[in-house]
């Protein structure tokens, strides 16, 4: 007897997870000893005028209902950061594009390159390149972002001075559009390389591993026997089957990746959500931390949900199974 259908099951799992996250964010502060404002204010370095303090106290001590909280969430009414003296939605919406730019490009590059490299290496089974590739990538898989990020920073920003050590653009500089793009790229290089170094090995190893299995299948032999060009056999017939494990792995490792991205942004002071979170933790700005945690969780859930729909498109067998 099947109580839950598969597809509805996964979708409702995501919706439930989102509700749990929102509810935790809503209810946990109530468990703080004393009231919320004293709890965060007493242990931070920020000084407020009596007027500001009264305002904040009035805002946080009103216990709103959960439905109201949900409503505020959707209308971007997330409260006020007392450390930055700015609405939280402003801070987050300014930081978010940088994070999406950095993490998005890193994923795209490492997925495409990892996929192609994995397919090509698996095709040339037992070669010299395979040994080197698998060996070095397994080692790279063991290097955490903190390690590679700090080393790249020391070598390329500090010792060689090729790239800027922090920020996303040069402040107060007036540039033409071309110079601005160049400046942006120079700032992006080091954090992006760190993330690619972290994401690429896994993609490569997984693609290669799955591809080696797929190449043993009979339909690959058939395709070759038909006399199709090898590049068509490799990518259209064989490699397509590797996309599904890749997507699955992406979903499973997303928490890992987010952690790494937070750290990388902090190392290079890249003005995304990670650095904002780091600053908020340093100043114990609890509403801001809550906002960032909640928004990032919802984005992660959304990505996972999208991935779930992608499965059906990648592999039609999945769609028919429902």
């Amino acid at each position: 007897m099947k109580v839950f259908s598969r597809r509805n099951g996964t979708v409702s799992a995501y919706i439930l997870a989102a509700l749990i996250m929102i509810y935790l964010s809503y209810s946990l502060p109530a468990f703080l000893p004393g009231d919320f404002v004293t709890a965060m204010y007493s242990s931070s370095h920020v000084t407020l005028t009596a007027d500001q303090e009264a305002q904040i106290r009035a805002f946080y001590n009103q216990r709103e209902g959960f439905i109201r909280y949900l409503g505020n969430l959707f209308t971007l009414n997330w409260g006020y950061s007392y450390a930055f003296l700015t609405p939280i939605s402003d801070l987050i919406l300014h930081a978010l594009p940088w994070t999406l730019l950095l993490v998005g490009i890193a994923h795209m590059i490492s997925m495409v390159l990892g996929f192609i490299a994995g397919v090509e290496v698996a095709w040339r089974r037992g070669g010299y390149w395979e040994k080197i590739g698998v060996g070095s990538m397994t080692i790279m898989e063991g290097v955490p972002e903190i390690g590679s990020g700090v080393i790249l920073l020391l070598i390329f920003a500090l010792y060689l001075g090729w790239f800027p050590a922090s920020g996303a653009e040069t402040a107060y500089a007036r540039h033409s559009a071309g110079e601005w793009a160049w400046d942006l790229l120079r700032h992006l290089t080091l954090p992006l390389s760190t993330l690619i170094l972290a994401y690429f090995p896994g993609n490569f190893l997984l693609t290669r591993g799955s591809m080696v299995m797929v190449l043993k299948e009979q339909f690959v032999q058939t395709a070759r026997a038909k006399g199709l060009p090898t590049i068509r056999v490799r990518y259209v017939h064989a490699a397509r089957n590797v996309l599904l494990p890749m997507a699955t792995r992406f979903g499973l490792r997303i928490a890992f990746m987010v952690t790494g991205a937070l750290v990388v942004e902090t190392i290079y002071s890249y003005p995304g959500l990670g650095t904002l979170l780091f600053n908020a933790i340093g100043m114990r700005d609890l509403p801001l931390i809550q906002g960032i945690v909640l928004l990032s969780s919802l984005i992660i859930l959304l990505v996972n949900l999208a991935l779930d729909y992608l499965y059906g498109w990648i592999d039609p067998r999945v769609k028919h199974a429902y």
Binding site: I20, L28, L158, V293, S296
Partner: protein, 279 residues
């Protein structure tokens, strides 16, 4: 079959390297307090003094001996990883076996619960609780373990379903063995390789997260940790301290994560029959 696997592991270069490094790091962790020349919390030394015979790696900005800090820091990281790994493994095995053996509604509820937990990004829960309540590291390790058992449970469940239908299990059932007896005497030992894989991957993730959370400043600042040391040292990166203050914790942390990764990779390779072909 057992001897075979052992020989195969002994021949795998990743496993041998990983085990060697693990022994080395294990000694460092166990003997840390004895090896440390100073109390890592002693703040009485001259801040930022360079390495010398008394302070092998110099002194940090707070006047603490960096070498001693290092030895205590790695203990905390390893401890966090092992605790999370053990607790997550325990939950994973218990739920996985129960779901596979009893099936039915229990199975479905547990697996749906697992789906929900998998969907919630564990790191976000950790950040939220750490920022709000500043719980002890043990508490955080337990939360992480509770968030991360489902992957192990799912792997164990699917393998247990295969083993459950094998002949010797059916034989012992027909001879009147109870469910508990079969689970304890047959299922638990037969799934042993999965425990090793699950434990290694969970411990790896936990150590990575501990270092990252400490780096972000979410642990008690007086608790020694490799991540926290890197975070502090980076603030002074423009001084000439990178080789005695920044590199040692980075190196040690990388070595640690690498060791666990090698072990996890080689265990997966040797024990997963599908992957064996691929290598």
């Amino acid at each position: 079959m057992h001897i075979d696997v052992r020989r195969e592991l002994a021949r795998d270069p990743w496993f041998v390297t990983g085990m060697g490094l693990a022994l080395l790091l294990g000694l460092l962790v166990l003997l840390g307090p004895m090896l440390a020349p100073h109390d890592p919390h002693d703040m009485s030394f001259r801040p930022l003094s360079p390495p010398s015979a008394v302070h092998w790696l110099g002194v940090n900005d707070g006047g603490m001996d960096i070498f001693s800090e290092l030895l205590y820091g790695i203990r905390n990281t390893v401890g966090f990883g092992l605790l999370t790994g053990i607790v997550a493994l325990f939950f994973g095995v218990a739920v996985g076996l129960a779901a596979a053996w009893f099936g039915g509604l229990l199975d479905q509820i547990m697996m749906r619960l697992g789906d929900i937990l998998l969907a919630i990004p564990a790191i976000m829960i950790l950040i939220l609780t750490a920022a709000l309540f500043r719980p002890s590291p043990v508490m955080l390790a337990l939360i992480l373990a509770i968030m991360s058992w489902p992957t192990t449970a799912k792997a164990i469940r699917s393998q247990a379903l295969v083993v459950k239908n094998r002949l010797h299990i059916q034989a012992s059932r027909q001879m009147g063995a109870s469910g508990c007896y079969i689970i304890v005497r047959h299922l638990v030992p037969e799934l042993f390789p999965l425990y090793l894989i699950g434990f290694a991957t969970k411990a790896r993730m936990a150590m990575f997260m501990e270092a990252s959370l400490a780096f972000l400043g979410l642990f008690d600042p007086s608790r020694k940790s490799l991540g926290l040391m890197i975070g502090y040292a980076l603030k002074y990166y423009y001084l000439h301290i990178w080789w005695n203050w920044i590199i040692p914790p980075v190196f040690l942390l990388t070595l640690l994560i690498m060791t666990v990764t090698f072990l996890a990779v080689s265990l997966e390779k040797v024990f997963d029959p599908r992957l064996k072909e691929a290598w």
